[in-house]
Subunit: 179 residues, 2 copies
């Protein structure tokens, strides 16, 4: 594959990740994603096998980036401090309003059961890796799982409530409930 073609593929994938974060894996159309990448719809299938394949790759990549970001936290911190820091970012207003480099779960979780099986497998693997990252010991794993639920639910609720004082309160309240 030529350099040019693989750069184009990256542009399409980038456009797909933005669309996925904001509108989930189902609603954005192939034509819209290609348009956002500065291309026309017909060329899409030279780069990806199907719309589902594109969205699965975008989903997988975004979750992997979330975990990489966590790995950058100071190794000497306690597991609880890591959870608090992760939530401070995840539940910030900046992250709520972000359109790139954000988490795909708030917009996608409700649609996952209607998507092909590999999406679920990616989520299962991500969840297990997140627990490994956020729990200090096996006994601690439940705290990591509960904090994940709290973060995802808090961000999804805050986004659904729109730009309002109530939305800000949800973020603040969820942040202070991290265990």
């Amino acid at each position: 594959m030529s350099d040019k073609k693989s750069r184009t593929r990256e542009r399409i994938l980038d456009a797909a990740t933005s669309a996925l974060i904001e509108r989930g894996p189902i609603e954005p159309s192939v034509g819209e994603v290609m348009g956002a990448a500065g291309l026309t719809v017909g060329g899409f299938y030279a780069h990806f096998e199907s719309k589902d394949a594109l969205m699965l790759e975008a989903f997988t990549q975004l979750l992997a980036r979330r975990r990489e970001r966590l790995k950058q936290l100071d190794d000497s911190l306690s597991a609880q401090d890591r959870r608090v820091l992760a939530a401070a970012f995840y539940l910030s207003r900046k992250h709520r309003d972000a359109e790139v480099d954000s988490c795909p779960l708030p917009s996608s979780l409700g649609e996952l059961s209607r998507l092909p099986e590999p999406f679920r497998r990616v989520l299962v693997e991500h969840t297990e890796l997140m627990v490994a990252e956020l729990a200090g010991s096996p006994e601690d794993a439940d705290k990591a799982l509960a904090d994940m639920a709290l973060m995802i639910g808090g961000l999804a609720l805050a986004r659904a409530l729109g730009d309002s004082e109530l939305s800000d309160r949800v973020l603040r309240a969820a942040k202070s409930a991290v265990i």
Copy 2:
């Protein structure tokens, strides 16, 4: 409106609430909902103005039922006990697997920003009423909001993970994190 017609309307609305719980407000088609109610698609517009109007009514009704259910809890309980009991039901395996009389938020939250404005207004009002129901005092409101985020996120994550041991662990972990 005749008795017969209003009973038919109820059947359509019941079919819509089931579809909404499982698949959100966008994916189920008018034809599917009518089929589930034992009717053909053409008759739909004698009962509802549009698909959005149907789904908004189903969404509103389901949230109101959730609040009614909370009102049935013993009045003499503390606000915290009410939150613990609410979560014990909401995060039970039975509720996770329920297809009727469940909460529409896990399946709908991610799609809300793509729906007409009234959906958001209904969610804002529901959130405020839930806080009133689950907080003992104004200072307590943040705990109610955090628990809502935890419950919605926990149920959405558990459902997305499918029928697995990890899904059960998410429910258990979230339940024990209620504040």
